[in-house]
Amino acid sequence: MKTAATLVLLAAVAALHLLSPFGSLSVARGIDPALATTLLVELRLPRTLLALGYGMTLGIAGAALQALFANPLASPDITGSSSGAALGAVFASYWLGLTNPILMALAGALGAGLALLLLLAVAGKRTEKVALLLAGLAVSLAAGAATSLLLALAPSPFAFYDSFEWLMGSFTDRSLAQAAAALVPAAAACALLLRRARALDLMALGDDVLASLGHRPRRLGVEIICLSAVGVGACVSVCGAIGFVGLIAPVVARRLTHGHPGRALLPAGLIGAMLVMLADFASRSIPLDNAIPVGVLTTLIGTPVFIASLLSMRGRMAP
Protein backbone atom coordinates (compact mmCIF):
# COMPACT_ATOMS: atom_id res chain seq x y z
CA MET A 1 0.00 0.00 0.00
CA LYS A 2 2.71 2.44 1.06
CA THR A 3 4.87 1.28 -1.84
CA ALA A 4 2.00 1.78 -4.30
CA ALA A 5 1.39 5.29 -2.99
CA THR A 6 5.11 6.06 -3.22
CA LEU A 7 5.20 4.76 -6.81
CA VAL A 8 2.25 6.96 -7.81
CA LEU A 9 3.90 9.96 -6.20
CA LEU A 10 7.19 9.14 -7.95
CA ALA A 11 5.45 8.87 -11.33
CA ALA A 12 3.79 12.23 -10.73
CA VAL A 13 7.10 13.89 -9.85
CA ALA A 14 8.77 12.30 -12.90
CA ALA A 15 5.98 13.54 -15.18
CA LEU A 16 6.26 17.02 -13.68
CA HIS A 17 10.05 16.94 -14.14
CA LEU A 18 9.75 15.77 -17.75
CA LEU A 19 6.96 18.07 -18.91
CA SER A 20 7.66 21.34 -17.13
CA PRO A 21 8.08 24.03 -18.19
CA PHE A 22 5.10 23.08 -20.30
CA GLY A 23 4.93 26.44 -22.11
CA SER A 24 7.95 25.87 -24.35
CA LEU A 25 6.67 22.39 -25.22
CA SER A 26 3.29 23.67 -26.40
CA VAL A 27 4.97 26.47 -28.37
CA ALA A 28 7.14 23.86 -30.08
CA ARG A 29 4.05 21.75 -30.75
CA GLY A 30 2.42 24.74 -32.41
CA ILE A 31 5.40 25.15 -34.77
CA ASP A 32 5.91 21.45 -35.52
CA PRO A 33 4.75 18.38 -33.53
CA ALA A 34 7.99 16.60 -34.50
CA LEU A 35 9.97 19.43 -32.89
CA ALA A 36 8.10 18.95 -29.60
CA THR A 37 8.86 15.23 -29.71
CA THR A 38 12.55 15.89 -30.40
CA LEU A 39 12.66 18.40 -27.55
CA LEU A 40 11.04 15.90 -25.21
CA VAL A 41 13.09 12.86 -26.17
CA GLU A 42 16.50 14.39 -26.93
CA LEU A 43 16.65 17.11 -24.29
CA ARG A 44 14.14 16.50 -21.53
CA LEU A 45 14.13 12.69 -21.32
CA PRO A 46 17.87 12.22 -20.57
CA ARG A 47 17.60 14.82 -17.84
CA THR A 48 14.59 13.15 -16.20
CA LEU A 49 16.03 9.66 -16.57
CA LEU A 50 19.36 10.72 -15.08
CA ALA A 51 17.77 12.51 -12.13
CA LEU A 52 15.48 9.54 -11.48
CA GLY A 53 18.17 6.88 -11.91
CA TYR A 54 20.91 8.73 -10.05
CA GLY A 55 18.56 9.45 -7.13
CA MET A 56 17.43 5.85 -7.01
CA THR A 57 21.02 4.60 -7.07
CA LEU A 58 21.99 6.96 -4.24
CA GLY A 59 19.02 5.84 -2.13
CA ILE A 60 19.56 2.12 -2.65
CA ALA A 61 23.35 2.25 -2.26
CA GLY A 62 23.00 4.48 0.81
CA ALA A 63 20.47 2.16 2.46
CA ALA A 64 22.64 -0.88 1.69
CA LEU A 65 25.77 0.77 3.12
CA GLN A 66 23.93 1.94 6.25
CA ALA A 67 22.60 -1.60 6.77
CA LEU A 68 26.09 -3.03 6.23
CA PHE A 69 27.81 -0.68 8.66
CA ALA A 70 24.83 -0.76 11.07
CA ASN A 71 25.19 3.00 11.06
CA PRO A 72 22.68 5.61 9.86
CA LEU A 73 25.54 7.98 9.03
CA ALA A 74 27.14 5.80 6.33
CA SER A 75 26.63 6.92 2.72
CA PRO A 76 27.92 6.21 -0.80
CA ASP A 77 30.53 8.95 -0.42
CA ILE A 78 32.31 6.94 2.24
CA THR A 79 33.35 4.18 -0.17
CA GLY A 80 35.45 6.80 -1.98
CA SER A 81 33.76 5.79 -5.21
CA SER A 82 32.24 9.22 -5.91
CA SER A 83 35.62 10.88 -5.50
CA GLY A 84 37.34 8.15 -7.50
CA ALA A 85 34.87 8.50 -10.36
CA ALA A 86 35.30 12.27 -10.40
CA LEU A 87 39.07 11.82 -10.50
CA GLY A 88 38.85 9.36 -13.40
CA ALA A 89 36.53 11.59 -15.38
CA VAL A 90 38.62 14.73 -14.76
CA PHE A 91 41.77 12.91 -15.86
CA ALA A 92 40.08 11.61 -19.03
CA SER A 93 38.58 14.95 -19.91
CA TYR A 94 41.36 17.46 -19.12
CA TRP A 95 44.48 15.35 -19.57
CA LEU A 96 43.48 12.87 -22.28
CA GLY A 97 41.08 15.28 -24.00
CA LEU A 98 38.28 12.71 -24.24
CA THR A 99 34.78 13.95 -24.98
CA ASN A 100 32.89 10.77 -25.93
CA PRO A 101 30.28 10.14 -23.21
CA ILE A 102 30.80 6.38 -23.21
CA LEU A 103 34.56 6.81 -22.76
CA MET A 104 33.95 9.38 -20.03
CA ALA A 105 31.61 7.05 -18.18
CA LEU A 106 34.18 4.29 -18.61
CA ALA A 107 36.90 6.57 -17.20
CA GLY A 108 34.61 7.36 -14.27
CA ALA A 109 33.86 3.71 -13.61
CA LEU A 110 37.59 2.98 -13.89
CA GLY A 111 38.32 5.71 -11.35
CA ALA A 112 35.66 4.32 -9.02
CA GLY A 113 37.11 0.83 -9.51
CA LEU A 114 40.64 2.01 -8.71
CA ALA A 115 39.38 3.82 -5.59
CA LEU A 116 37.71 0.56 -4.65
CA LEU A 117 40.86 -1.52 -5.14
CA LEU A 118 42.78 1.00 -3.04
CA LEU A 119 40.04 0.82 -0.39
CA LEU A 120 40.22 -2.98 -0.20
CA ALA A 121 44.04 -2.85 -0.15
CA VAL A 122 44.10 -0.30 2.69
CA ALA A 123 41.34 -2.04 4.66
CA GLY A 124 43.20 -5.35 4.36
CA LYS A 125 42.08 -8.89 3.85
CA ARG A 126 40.02 -9.05 7.02
CA THR A 127 37.73 -6.31 5.67
CA GLU A 128 36.40 -5.34 9.05
CA LYS A 129 33.72 -2.69 9.01
CA VAL A 130 35.56 0.02 10.91
CA ALA A 131 38.64 -0.53 8.75
CA LEU A 132 36.48 -0.21 5.62
CA LEU A 133 34.89 2.99 6.91
CA LEU A 134 38.24 4.63 7.71
CA ALA A 135 39.87 3.38 4.52
CA GLY A 136 36.94 4.80 2.52
CA LEU A 137 37.40 8.17 4.19
CA ALA A 138 41.14 8.12 3.42
CA VAL A 139 40.61 7.12 -0.21
CA SER A 140 37.95 9.75 -0.74
CA LEU A 141 40.11 12.53 0.72
CA ALA A 142 43.09 11.41 -1.38
CA ALA A 143 41.01 11.25 -4.57
CA GLY A 144 39.54 14.69 -3.85
CA ALA A 145 43.03 16.17 -3.44
CA ALA A 146 44.26 14.43 -6.60
CA THR A 147 41.29 15.83 -8.55
CA SER A 148 42.10 19.37 -7.42
CA LEU A 149 45.75 18.81 -8.32
CA LEU A 150 44.89 17.54 -11.82
CA LEU A 151 42.63 20.53 -12.37
CA ALA A 152 45.24 22.99 -11.10
CA LEU A 153 47.96 21.58 -13.36
CA ALA A 154 45.65 20.93 -16.34
CA PRO A 155 46.86 22.27 -19.72
CA SER A 156 43.58 24.17 -20.14
CA PRO A 157 43.56 27.37 -18.04
CA PHE A 158 39.76 27.12 -17.79
CA ALA A 159 39.72 23.62 -16.31
CA PHE A 160 38.73 24.74 -12.81
CA TYR A 161 36.00 26.98 -14.13
CA ASP A 162 34.70 24.37 -16.62
CA SER A 163 34.62 21.60 -14.11
CA PHE A 164 32.77 23.60 -11.48
CA GLU A 165 29.27 22.99 -12.75
CA TRP A 166 29.93 19.39 -13.68
CA LEU A 167 31.65 18.36 -10.43
CA MET A 168 28.93 20.04 -8.36
CA GLY A 169 26.31 17.84 -9.98
CA SER A 170 24.24 18.79 -12.99
CA PHE A 171 21.77 17.16 -15.38
CA THR A 172 21.72 19.83 -18.07
CA ASP A 173 22.67 19.07 -21.68
CA ARG A 174 23.24 15.35 -21.24
CA SER A 175 22.51 13.08 -24.22
CA LEU A 176 20.60 9.81 -24.28
CA ALA A 177 23.94 8.05 -24.87
CA GLN A 178 25.35 9.63 -21.72
CA ALA A 179 22.22 8.66 -19.81
CA ALA A 180 22.64 5.07 -20.97
CA ALA A 181 26.35 5.07 -20.06
CA ALA A 182 25.45 6.05 -16.49
CA LEU A 183 22.19 4.23 -15.99
CA VAL A 184 22.82 0.76 -17.43
CA PRO A 185 25.61 -0.06 -14.92
CA ALA A 186 23.68 1.77 -12.19
CA ALA A 187 20.49 -0.25 -12.84
CA ALA A 188 22.43 -3.52 -12.80
CA ALA A 189 24.11 -2.57 -9.52
CA CYS A 190 20.76 -1.57 -7.98
CA ALA A 191 19.11 -4.84 -9.02
CA LEU A 192 21.95 -6.84 -7.45
CA LEU A 193 21.81 -4.73 -4.28
CA LEU A 194 18.05 -5.26 -3.97
CA ARG A 195 18.58 -9.02 -4.17
CA ARG A 196 20.66 -8.72 -1.00
CA ALA A 197 17.95 -6.84 0.93
CA ARG A 198 16.86 -9.83 3.01
CA ALA A 199 20.40 -10.75 4.02
CA LEU A 200 20.90 -7.10 5.03
CA ASP A 201 17.81 -7.32 7.25
CA LEU A 202 19.27 -10.39 8.94
CA MET A 203 22.56 -8.53 9.37
CA ALA A 204 20.68 -6.59 12.09
CA LEU A 205 21.17 -9.75 14.21
CA GLY A 206 24.95 -9.47 13.88
CA ASP A 207 27.51 -11.01 11.53
CA ASP A 208 27.84 -14.23 13.56
CA VAL A 209 24.11 -14.95 13.48
CA LEU A 210 24.03 -14.14 9.75
CA ALA A 211 26.85 -16.65 9.23
CA SER A 212 25.04 -19.24 11.36
CA LEU A 213 22.09 -18.89 8.95
CA GLY A 214 24.31 -19.87 6.04
CA HIS A 215 25.22 -16.42 4.69
CA ARG A 216 28.75 -15.07 4.23
CA PRO A 217 28.91 -11.70 6.00
CA ARG A 218 32.39 -10.73 4.84
CA ARG A 219 31.75 -11.56 1.21
CA LEU A 220 28.41 -9.77 1.46
CA GLY A 221 30.23 -6.69 2.77
CA VAL A 222 32.67 -6.64 -0.14
CA GLU A 223 29.81 -7.19 -2.61
CA ILE A 224 27.80 -4.27 -1.17
CA ILE A 225 30.83 -1.96 -1.35
CA CYS A 226 31.66 -3.00 -4.95
CA LEU A 227 28.08 -2.71 -6.22
CA SER A 228 27.66 0.71 -4.59
CA ALA A 229 30.93 1.88 -6.13
CA VAL A 230 29.96 0.74 -9.63
CA GLY A 231 26.45 2.23 -9.50
CA VAL A 232 27.39 5.56 -7.92
CA GLY A 233 30.67 5.78 -9.90
CA ALA A 234 28.89 5.50 -13.24
CA CYS A 235 26.40 8.23 -12.26
CA VAL A 236 29.12 10.57 -10.94
CA SER A 237 31.16 10.30 -14.14
CA VAL A 238 28.20 11.62 -16.16
CA CYS A 239 26.47 13.98 -13.71
CA GLY A 240 29.04 14.87 -11.06
CA ALA A 241 28.64 14.49 -7.32
CA ILE A 242 25.28 14.89 -5.58
CA GLY A 243 25.62 15.00 -1.82
CA PHE A 244 23.39 14.01 1.09
CA VAL A 245 20.67 12.18 -0.86
CA GLY A 246 22.36 8.83 -0.16
CA LEU A 247 22.40 9.76 3.51
CA ILE A 248 18.90 11.19 3.98
CA ALA A 249 16.77 8.92 1.75
CA PRO A 250 17.51 5.71 3.75
CA VAL A 251 16.79 7.47 7.06
CA VAL A 252 13.33 8.47 5.78
CA ALA A 253 12.79 5.04 4.21
CA ARG A 254 13.44 3.19 7.49
CA ARG A 255 10.53 5.08 9.05
CA LEU A 256 8.32 3.37 6.47
CA THR A 257 9.82 -0.08 7.11
CA HIS A 258 9.61 0.11 10.93
CA GLY A 259 13.37 0.23 11.29
CA HIS A 260 14.14 -2.75 9.04
CA PRO A 261 17.42 -1.82 7.33
CA GLY A 262 17.25 -4.26 4.39
CA ARG A 263 13.59 -3.80 3.56
CA ALA A 264 14.33 -0.05 3.37
CA LEU A 265 16.43 -0.43 0.17
CA LEU A 266 13.60 -0.11 -2.35
CA PRO A 267 11.72 2.72 -0.58
CA ALA A 268 15.06 4.51 -0.10
CA GLY A 269 15.59 4.27 -3.87
CA LEU A 270 12.14 5.71 -4.60
CA ILE A 271 12.62 8.52 -2.08
CA GLY A 272 16.13 9.25 -3.41
CA ALA A 273 14.75 9.49 -6.96
CA MET A 274 12.07 11.90 -5.80
CA LEU A 275 14.52 14.06 -3.84
CA VAL A 276 16.95 14.41 -6.76
CA MET A 277 14.16 15.20 -9.25
CA LEU A 278 12.66 17.79 -6.91
CA ALA A 279 16.10 19.32 -6.29
CA ASP A 280 16.75 19.51 -10.04
CA PHE A 281 13.28 20.96 -10.58
CA ALA A 282 14.00 23.57 -7.92
CA SER A 283 17.41 24.41 -9.39
CA ARG A 284 15.73 25.06 -12.74
CA SER A 285 12.91 27.05 -11.23
CA ILE A 286 14.99 29.50 -9.19
CA PRO A 287 15.17 32.57 -11.43
CA LEU A 288 18.86 33.46 -11.29
CA ASP A 289 21.26 34.38 -14.08
CA ASN A 290 23.39 31.34 -13.27
CA ALA A 291 21.61 28.10 -12.36
CA ILE A 292 22.54 26.72 -8.93
CA PRO A 293 24.11 23.26 -9.44
CA VAL A 294 21.81 20.49 -8.12
CA GLY A 295 24.59 19.07 -5.96
CA VAL A 296 24.99 22.42 -4.21
CA LEU A 297 21.23 22.59 -3.65
CA THR A 298 20.96 19.07 -2.17
CA THR A 299 23.88 19.83 0.14
CA LEU A 300 22.37 23.19 1.19
CA ILE A 301 19.04 21.52 2.00
CA GLY A 302 20.59 18.30 3.27
CA THR A 303 22.96 19.80 5.84
CA PRO A 304 20.28 21.17 8.22
CA VAL A 305 18.26 17.93 7.83
CA PHE A 306 21.38 15.98 8.65
CA ILE A 307 22.16 18.12 11.70
CA ALA A 308 18.53 17.81 12.88
CA SER A 309 18.67 14.01 12.61
CA LEU A 310 22.02 14.03 14.45
CA LEU A 311 20.49 16.10 17.25
CA SER A 312 17.45 13.83 17.54
CA MET A 313 19.80 10.86 17.60
CA ARG A 314 21.87 12.17 20.49
CA GLY A 315 19.09 11.31 22.95
CA ARG A 316 18.49 7.86 21.61
CA MET A 317 21.30 6.29 19.60
CA ALA A 318 19.11 5.23 16.69
CA PRO A 319 17.92 6.81 13.46
Binding site: A70, N71, D201, L202, A204, L205, G206, D207, D208, V209, A211, S212, L213, G214, H215, R216, P217, R218, R254, H258, G259, H260, P261, R316, M317, A318, P319
Partner: protein
Protein backbone atom coordinates in the same frame (compact mmCIF):
# COMPACT_ATOMS: atom_id res chain seq x y z
CA UNK B 1 21.04 -44.51 16.51
CA UNK B 2 23.61 -41.81 15.96
CA UNK B 3 23.88 -38.71 18.11
CA UNK B 4 21.86 -35.60 17.30
CA UNK B 5 25.01 -33.49 16.91
CA UNK B 6 28.42 -34.70 15.77
CA UNK B 7 31.20 -32.12 15.81
CA UNK B 8 34.58 -33.05 14.35
CA UNK B 9 37.64 -30.89 14.92
CA UNK B 10 35.62 -27.73 15.53
CA UNK B 11 37.73 -24.76 16.58
CA UNK B 12 38.70 -21.18 15.91
CA UNK B 13 42.32 -20.29 15.14
CA UNK B 14 44.05 -18.92 18.24
CA UNK B 15 40.89 -19.25 20.35
CA UNK B 16 39.90 -22.90 20.52
CA UNK B 17 42.01 -25.85 19.41
CA UNK B 18 40.17 -28.35 17.22
CA UNK B 19 37.77 -30.30 19.46
CA UNK B 20 35.31 -33.09 18.82
CA UNK B 21 32.12 -33.88 20.68
CA UNK B 22 28.71 -35.48 20.30
CA UNK B 23 25.44 -34.24 21.79
CA UNK B 24 22.39 -36.44 22.33
CA UNK B 25 18.72 -35.62 21.83
CA UNK B 26 17.06 -34.06 24.86
CA UNK B 27 20.34 -32.95 26.42
CA UNK B 28 20.74 -29.64 28.23
CA UNK B 29 24.47 -28.99 28.20
CA UNK B 30 26.06 -26.22 30.27
CA UNK B 31 29.31 -24.72 28.97
CA UNK B 32 31.42 -23.33 31.80
CA UNK B 33 34.94 -22.02 32.09
CA UNK B 34 37.05 -19.03 33.15
CA UNK B 35 36.94 -15.77 31.18
CA UNK B 36 38.78 -16.09 27.87
CA UNK B 37 38.89 -19.88 28.18
CA UNK B 38 37.06 -20.51 24.92
CA UNK B 39 33.34 -20.89 25.80
CA UNK B 40 32.20 -18.37 23.23
CA UNK B 41 34.59 -19.79 20.64
CA UNK B 42 33.13 -23.28 21.12
CA UNK B 43 29.60 -21.96 20.58
CA UNK B 44 30.68 -19.86 17.58
CA UNK B 45 32.53 -22.76 16.00
CA UNK B 46 29.46 -24.99 16.40
CA UNK B 47 27.29 -22.19 14.95
CA UNK B 48 29.61 -22.10 11.89
CA UNK B 49 30.70 -18.46 11.99
CA UNK B 50 33.01 -17.44 9.14
CA UNK B 51 36.22 -18.27 11.02
CA UNK B 52 35.02 -21.69 12.26
CA UNK B 53 37.16 -24.77 11.58
CA UNK B 54 36.11 -28.41 11.42
CA UNK B 55 32.68 -29.79 10.57
CA UNK B 56 29.35 -30.11 12.38
CA UNK B 57 26.46 -32.38 11.49
CA UNK B 58 22.99 -32.19 13.01
CA UNK B 59 20.56 -35.02 12.35
CA UNK B 60 23.19 -36.50 10.05
CA UNK B 61 23.29 -33.40 7.82
CA UNK B 62 26.53 -31.49 7.26
CA UNK B 63 25.72 -27.93 8.38
CA UNK B 64 28.17 -26.25 6.00
CA UNK B 65 26.37 -27.83 3.03
CA UNK B 66 22.92 -26.51 3.99
CA UNK B 67 21.16 -23.33 2.91
CA UNK B 68 19.26 -20.89 5.09
CA UNK B 69 15.86 -22.66 5.13
CA UNK B 70 17.20 -26.04 6.24
CA UNK B 71 19.79 -24.55 8.54
CA UNK B 72 17.10 -22.68 10.47
CA UNK B 73 15.59 -26.06 11.34
CA UNK B 74 18.95 -27.52 12.37
CA UNK B 75 20.52 -24.84 14.53
CA UNK B 76 19.95 -21.46 16.13
CA UNK B 77 22.62 -19.23 17.64
CA UNK B 78 22.31 -16.49 20.24
CA UNK B 79 25.48 -14.40 20.67
CA UNK B 80 26.38 -12.88 24.03
CA UNK B 81 26.02 -9.29 22.82
CA UNK B 82 22.83 -7.43 23.72
CA UNK B 83 23.45 -4.68 21.20
CA UNK B 84 20.72 -3.80 18.73
CA UNK B 85 21.54 -1.40 15.90
CA UNK B 86 18.08 -0.70 14.50
CA UNK B 87 14.78 0.34 16.12
CA UNK B 88 12.90 -2.82 15.15
CA UNK B 89 9.78 -3.65 17.21
CA UNK B 90 10.07 -6.65 19.56
CA UNK B 91 7.54 -8.76 17.60
CA UNK B 92 9.40 -7.99 14.35
CA UNK B 93 12.64 -9.02 16.04
CA UNK B 94 11.06 -12.35 17.02
CA UNK B 95 10.05 -12.82 13.37
CA UNK B 96 13.73 -12.74 12.37
CA UNK B 97 13.90 -16.16 14.03
CA UNK B 98 11.39 -17.67 11.60
CA UNK B 99 11.92 -18.59 7.97
CA UNK B 100 8.23 -18.26 7.11
CA UNK B 101 5.48 -16.21 8.84
CA UNK B 102 3.95 -18.02 11.84
CA UNK B 103 1.76 -15.62 13.87
CA UNK B 104 0.74 -18.40 16.29
CA UNK B 105 4.37 -19.06 17.23
CA UNK B 106 5.05 -15.36 17.75
CA UNK B 107 2.00 -15.10 20.02
CA UNK B 108 3.17 -18.17 21.91
CA UNK B 109 6.64 -16.65 22.45
CA UNK B 110 5.18 -13.31 23.58
CA UNK B 111 3.16 -15.20 26.23
CA UNK B 112 5.99 -17.53 27.19
CA UNK B 113 8.51 -14.73 27.71
CA UNK B 114 5.95 -12.21 29.01
CA UNK B 115 6.74 -9.73 26.25
CA UNK B 116 3.16 -8.49 25.70
CA UNK B 117 3.82 -5.05 27.19
CA UNK B 118 7.02 -4.67 25.18
CA UNK B 119 5.77 -6.17 21.92
CA UNK B 120 5.41 -2.91 19.98
CA UNK B 121 8.45 -1.16 21.45
CA UNK B 122 11.69 -0.81 19.48
CA UNK B 123 14.18 -3.36 20.78
CA UNK B 124 16.98 -0.80 21.10
CA UNK B 125 14.97 1.14 23.72
CA UNK B 126 14.47 -1.79 26.13
CA UNK B 127 16.48 -2.39 29.27
CA UNK B 128 19.34 -4.86 28.85
CA UNK B 129 17.45 -7.62 30.65
CA UNK B 130 14.31 -7.09 28.58
CA UNK B 131 16.38 -7.09 25.41
CA UNK B 132 18.01 -10.34 26.55
CA UNK B 133 14.55 -11.95 26.79
CA UNK B 134 13.46 -10.73 23.37
CA UNK B 135 16.73 -11.91 21.82
CA UNK B 136 16.35 -15.33 23.43
CA UNK B 137 12.85 -15.44 21.94
CA UNK B 138 14.30 -14.85 18.46
CA UNK B 139 16.76 -17.71 18.96
CA UNK B 140 14.20 -20.27 20.11
CA UNK B 141 11.43 -19.15 17.71
CA UNK B 142 12.35 -21.56 14.90
CA UNK B 143 12.40 -24.69 17.13
CA UNK B 144 15.85 -25.62 15.81
CA UNK B 145 17.27 -29.06 16.70
CA UNK B 146 20.36 -27.52 18.28
CA UNK B 147 20.20 -24.32 20.36
CA UNK B 148 23.56 -22.58 20.83
CA UNK B 149 23.09 -19.90 23.46
CA UNK B 150 25.96 -17.71 24.64
CA UNK B 151 25.24 -16.46 28.17
CA UNK B 152 21.45 -16.20 27.78
CA UNK B 153 21.11 -15.83 31.58
CA UNK B 154 23.35 -12.77 31.93
CA UNK B 155 21.56 -9.49 32.73
CA UNK B 156 18.41 -11.36 33.85
CA UNK B 157 16.78 -10.94 37.27
CA UNK B 158 16.62 -14.04 39.53
CA UNK B 159 13.08 -14.93 38.46
CA UNK B 160 13.97 -14.81 34.78
CA UNK B 161 17.19 -16.78 35.30
CA UNK B 162 15.21 -19.72 36.73
CA UNK B 163 12.30 -19.20 34.35
CA UNK B 164 14.61 -19.17 31.29
CA UNK B 165 16.20 -22.47 32.30
CA UNK B 166 12.67 -23.95 32.62
CA UNK B 167 11.64 -22.51 29.24
CA UNK B 168 14.72 -24.02 27.61
CA UNK B 169 14.08 -27.40 29.23
CA UNK B 170 10.49 -27.35 27.97
CA UNK B 171 11.62 -26.42 24.44
CA UNK B 172 14.25 -29.16 24.38
CA UNK B 173 11.74 -31.75 25.62
CA UNK B 174 8.99 -30.65 23.24
CA UNK B 175 11.20 -30.59 20.14
CA UNK B 176 13.44 -33.55 21.05
CA UNK B 177 16.30 -31.12 20.47
CA UNK B 178 19.41 -30.18 22.45
CA UNK B 179 20.75 -26.95 23.96
CA UNK B 180 24.31 -25.81 24.60
CA UNK B 181 24.24 -22.95 27.08
CA UNK B 182 27.22 -21.03 28.40
CA UNK B 183 26.72 -20.04 32.04
CA UNK B 184 28.74 -18.31 34.75
CA UNK B 185 26.51 -19.09 37.75
CA UNK B 186 27.81 -22.45 39.01
CA UNK B 187 24.76 -22.91 41.28
CA UNK B 188 22.64 -23.51 38.18
CA UNK B 189 24.64 -26.50 36.98
CA UNK B 190 22.43 -29.02 38.83
CA UNK B 191 19.65 -28.10 36.39
CA UNK B 192 21.68 -29.33 33.41
CA UNK B 193 22.25 -32.91 32.21
CA UNK B 194 25.85 -32.43 31.26
CA UNK B 195 28.64 -29.90 31.73
CA UNK B 196 31.48 -29.01 29.37
CA UNK B 197 34.40 -27.30 31.04
CA UNK B 198 36.29 -25.14 28.54
CA UNK B 199 39.64 -23.71 29.62
CA UNK B 200 42.94 -22.85 27.96
CA UNK B 201 41.35 -23.07 24.49
CA UNK B 202 40.20 -26.69 24.91
CA UNK B 203 37.42 -28.81 26.40
CA UNK B 204 39.13 -30.11 29.55
CA UNK B 205 36.24 -31.91 31.26
CA UNK B 206 32.94 -33.32 30.05
CA UNK B 207 30.37 -35.18 32.15
CA UNK B 208 27.44 -34.93 34.58
CA UNK B 209 27.49 -31.73 36.71
CA UNK B 210 28.54 -33.38 39.98
CA UNK B 211 31.39 -35.20 38.25
CA UNK B 212 32.79 -32.10 36.54
CA UNK B 213 32.44 -30.02 39.73
CA UNK B 214 34.44 -32.61 41.65
CA UNK B 215 37.10 -33.04 38.98
CA UNK B 216 40.69 -31.94 39.35
CA UNK B 217 40.39 -29.95 36.10
CA UNK B 218 37.63 -27.84 37.65
CA UNK B 219 39.92 -26.62 40.43
CA UNK B 220 42.78 -25.98 38.02
CA UNK B 221 40.57 -24.05 35.60
CA UNK B 222 38.56 -21.91 38.01
CA UNK B 223 40.96 -21.61 40.99
CA UNK B 224 37.97 -21.76 43.37
CA UNK B 225 36.70 -24.47 45.73
CA UNK B 226 33.60 -25.06 47.88
CA UNK B 227 33.92 -23.08 51.13
CA UNK B 228 31.81 -22.36 54.21
CA UNK B 229 29.94 -19.50 52.55
CA UNK B 230 29.59 -20.74 48.98
CA UNK B 231 32.62 -20.69 46.70
CA UNK B 232 36.01 -19.61 48.04
CA UNK B 233 39.26 -18.70 46.30
CA UNK B 234 41.50 -21.73 46.31
CA UNK B 235 44.21 -21.78 48.98
CA UNK B 236 43.02 -18.47 50.49
Amino acid sequence: MTSLVEALGVGIAGRLSPSSLAIERGQMVAVIGPNGGGKTSLLRALARTEDALGAVSVDGLDIDATGEALRRRLLAFLPATREASWPVAVTDYLKFGLGAPDPARIEELVDLLELALLAARPIDRLSTGERARAMLGRAIAGKARLLLLDEPLSNLDPYWVLRTVDVLRAEVDANDSAALVSVHDLSLLARFDRVLLVSGNAIVADGPPEMVLASEQFGTAFRVEPGERGWAIMGA
